[in-house]
């Protein structure tokens, strides 16, 4: 067993070029990618964080951060991308009005496909730019109107990037605690993830030759 107590799926959405991939890479690898195009084959990135809980103990949390794989370019994100996300980060570029104008379209998609209780965060990225078009207050108001958290970041300078993901992790832990049983990691039989190796067993042991190991 690996040493982590929670695993959360965080997905990023927003127009092309707002810096989604840069946010993830800055956070998971501490780098600001210089060029585009090196991300072929990357599905999601993982980072394990240490979070101090309300009782003062620190716990390991694994964030699985999913990128759009470019499908946002022509508005063709698969619905399955939104399914079972614990948190959703909607990103716009503070120096590019059209990326802010597109937010309502993104909200519609979220409403259609994501779990209604998903944690939503609005992020205005690229605060390092000096040609700001969207005042902080406008972003804040939009977030408030749509029941979202709000933060401005700069992947280039690293500003607020750590904060963004640490706050998401802390909030998701709190949410998980409020649930009965508390841990999002507990395995349960009703939903099957095919990748779980422990599921694979030989039928003969539980059907024919008789140990009945699966029927207990």
């Amino acid at each position: 067993m690996e040493d982590y107590k929670f695993l959360f799926k965080v997905v990023l959405i927003g127009n092309s070029g707002v810096g989604k991939t840069c946010l993830v890479r800055r956070f998971t690898q501490g780098v600001f990618p210089k060029g585009q195009g090196a991300t072929i084959g990357v599905d999601f990135m993982i980072k394990t964080l240490e979070i101090e809980n309300s009782t003062g103990q620190s716990e390991n949390v694994k964030l699985q951060i999913w990128d759009t794989a470019g499908q946002e370019r022509f508005r063709s994100i698969t619905q399955s991308y939104y399914r079972s996300a614990h948190a959703l980060i909607l990103v716009y570029d503070i120096s590019c009005q059209p990326t802010f104008d597109a937010l309502s379209d993104w909200i519609r998609e979220i409403q259609e496909y994501a779990n209604p209780k998903v944690l939503k965060i609005l992020v205005g990225n690229k605060t390092d730019r000096d040609d700001r078009e969207i005042p902080v207050r406008v972003g804040e108001e939009f977030a408030k109107a749509h029941d979202m958290y709000f933060l401005e970041t700069s992947s280039k300078q690293g500003e607020n990037v750590e904060k963004l993901f640490y706050e998401i992790a802390a909030e998701l832990i709190e949410q998980a605690r409020r649930q009965k049983g508390g841990l999002s990691r507990t395995h349960h039989s009703s939903v099957t993830n095919l990748g779980m190796k422990s599921n694979i067993s030989n039928f003969q042991s539980n059907c024919c030759s008789g140990s009945g190991s699966n029927n207990n």
Binding site: Q29, D43, Q71, Q179, V191, T192, L194, N199, C208, N215
Partner: protein, 537 residues
């Protein structure tokens, strides 16, 4: 920066299952893929919709399109003042919840040990979706709905199967598993069946002195076969059943959470991750074959304001670019029925709240395939709690309504009488019938294709995706004979990202994926709702 490249290795039109598999496989080995769909949604004839979009889709004007959903009819229960609701549900309430439904055009189940599950695991596409193990398999025995004993434990707790029958069944099943045609061992042979491959499976079972009860369970419920099924086919079917059972649950089947429309999308996601470009909702004006300077054939496509060329083109059945004279196709008769109580009532639902997935295969006399019934409840995220989504499918013979009548008239009712004791027949609150284009006729249509334009078939009248996968592999190997078919996609930690001087601290590591869906969504939602209230106070 949104300039679309003008040249691709492959253009795929349509996001149905086969098209998506081909797109993913091609992109996976490093070729450039443009994947488009003229619809605004993924999946074509394989899509799932919420209630409103489902109705809009079935009733939309498709113009002079030849390959389309046909003979659509729909009906609501007539709620009156005296009967304003059934089990708390009426038309308005169902419609108001309909946004959270996921209704499949073509519902399918997957054998736990079947080709789709195998492919999802071997390619690592399984990380994009989750499944629910089918809770129960039903059959109709002597006119009554009965639960099929799946596991060994089930068989031994079943009251209407005698001890002698249990022994016979176990012996027969064991023999089926161990039977090998090429076995040379004489002593083994004596233990094994002495029966011709093309003899009828039912005759073998009679020869082995299985009782009618057992023959029924094996033939209809485990093998989904009929009296004409050969020994060879029967043996294969029962082996698939047996190797699938107990792998993920107590039945051999899985159903994708949020519906079967998720499946093609998983392949699309993989295609995109490896660089495939996606564009939905764009009308294609024109496709032409041209020759480049060196005389090679190229496909030129005009769509939107773009002109793109590609070395190869793959068209889905609903793309309108398949020559239907050369590729005649068949239809599947479908019914989608909503009820507020589960099939078979309390007699077969006493052990659970009916919250899962139930399969029933109903043989129809004089028809090579019977009616397949898949009942979905809220744990699948396909319907609201308290409602049941009943999918009926069979190959189209005399039209959807008439093909599916035998099942509907026997196990469901159109009226509602709360007084009656018999709750085995749920009342139909809503029903819709339609016929949907399915497979291209002829199993060798793939081998006749020589490109550079290829066509994909629709769904086959099979429970799983085995034939679709077989054909996709075949088509892919025709298109790219030297390339591997969907090798395992790397885990995130195996990927070396092309930055020169980054300083990674080993924080990228992925082990076993934990389940991402809470065990009991309702409970979670309730708790979260409470918390929301606390927050606002």
């Amino acid at each position: 920066m949104d300039d679309l490249p003008k040249e691709f290795d492959l253009i795929v039109i349509g996001t149905g299952f086969q098209e998506s598999v081909i797109a993913a496989a091609t992109s996976r080995v490093g070729k450039t893929v443009l994947h488009i769909d003229q619809n605004e949604f993924y999946g074509g004839f394989w899509a799932s919709f919420n209630l409103e979009n489902f109705m809009t889709h079935l009733n939309r004007d498709t113009g002079d399109k030849k390959c389309k959903i046909r003979n659509v009819s729909q009906e609501w229960f007539e709620f009156t003042e005296e009967k304003s609701e059934i089990n708390g549900w009426n038309k308005e309430k169902i419609i108001s919840e309909g946004r959270r439904f996921n209704i499949d055009l073509i519902p399918k189940l997957n054998y736990c040990n079947g080709k789709l599950v195998e492919l999802l695991i071997s390619s690592n596409i399984c990380r994009y979706t989750e499944f629910r193990a089918v809770d129960k398999v039903l059959t109709v025995l002597n006119g009554k709905i009965d639960v099929v004993p799946g596991s060994r434990a089930d068989i031994f707790t079943k009251k209407n199967v005698s001890i002698i029958e249990k022994r016979l069944l176990m012996k027969f099943i064991t023999q089926c598993v161990e039977y090998k045609r090429e076995e040379n061992n004489e002593s083994f042979k004596e233990e094994s069946f002495d029966f011709p491959d093309d003899g009828k499976f039912i005759d073998l079972m009679k020869q082995q002195k299985l009782t009618d009860n057992l023959i029924h369970y094996i033939l209809y419920a485990m093998c989904m076969a009929n009296t004409e099924t050969t020994f060879k086919e029967g043996l294969e079917a029962i082996r698939t059943y047996l190797t699938s059972i107990g792998r993920y649950g107590n039945t051999p089947y899985l159903f994708p959470m949020f519906g079967c429309g998720e499946i093609p999308q998983c392949f699309c996601r993989l295609c995109a991750v490896f660089g495939g470009v996606y564009w939905l909702g764009q009308k294609i004006n024109d496709i032409q074959l041209i020759n480049d300077e060196s005389g090679n054939e190229l496909v030129k496509m005009n769509f939107g304001n773009e002109e793109i060329s590609a070395k190869k083109l793959v068209c889905g059945l609903d793309s309108n670019f398949i020559d239907l004279n050369q590729n005649p196709f068949e239809y599947i008769s479908r019914a989608v029925i909503i009820t507020s109580s589960p099939l078979g009532g309390s007699t077969v639902n006493s052990d659970m709240d009916g919250g899962g997935v139930v399969l029933l295969y109903y043989p129809v006399e004089g028809k090579s395939d019977g009616i397949t019934m898949i009942q979905l409840a809220h744990y699948t995220s396909c319907i609201s709690k308290g409602l049941y989504l009943i999918h009926l499918s069979t190959t189209c013979q005399n039209g959807a309504k008439s093909d599916l009548q035998p099942f509907v008239e026997t196990f469901l009712r159109h009226d509602h009488d709360a007084e009656t004791e018999d709750d085995t027949k749920p009342t139909i609150l809503f029903s819709t019938y339609f016929e949907i284009p399915s497979s291209i006729k002829g199993h060798d249509y793939v081998s006749q294709q020589n490109g550079p334009i290829y066509s994909c078939s629709g769904a086959f009248s099979e429970l799983d995706y085995d034939e679709s996968i077989r054909q996709s592999r075949l088509l892919y190997s025709k298109m790219y004979p030297n390339d591997e078919f969907l090798p395992k996609a790397p885990e995130p930690e195996e990927i070396i990202i092309g930055d020169d001087d980054d300083d990674r601290e080993g924080n990228v590591n992925l082990g076993v994926l934990a389940d991402l869906v809470p065990e009991n969504k309702e409970d979670t939602d309730k708790v979260l709702e409470k918390e929301d209230m606390n927050k606002t106070q």
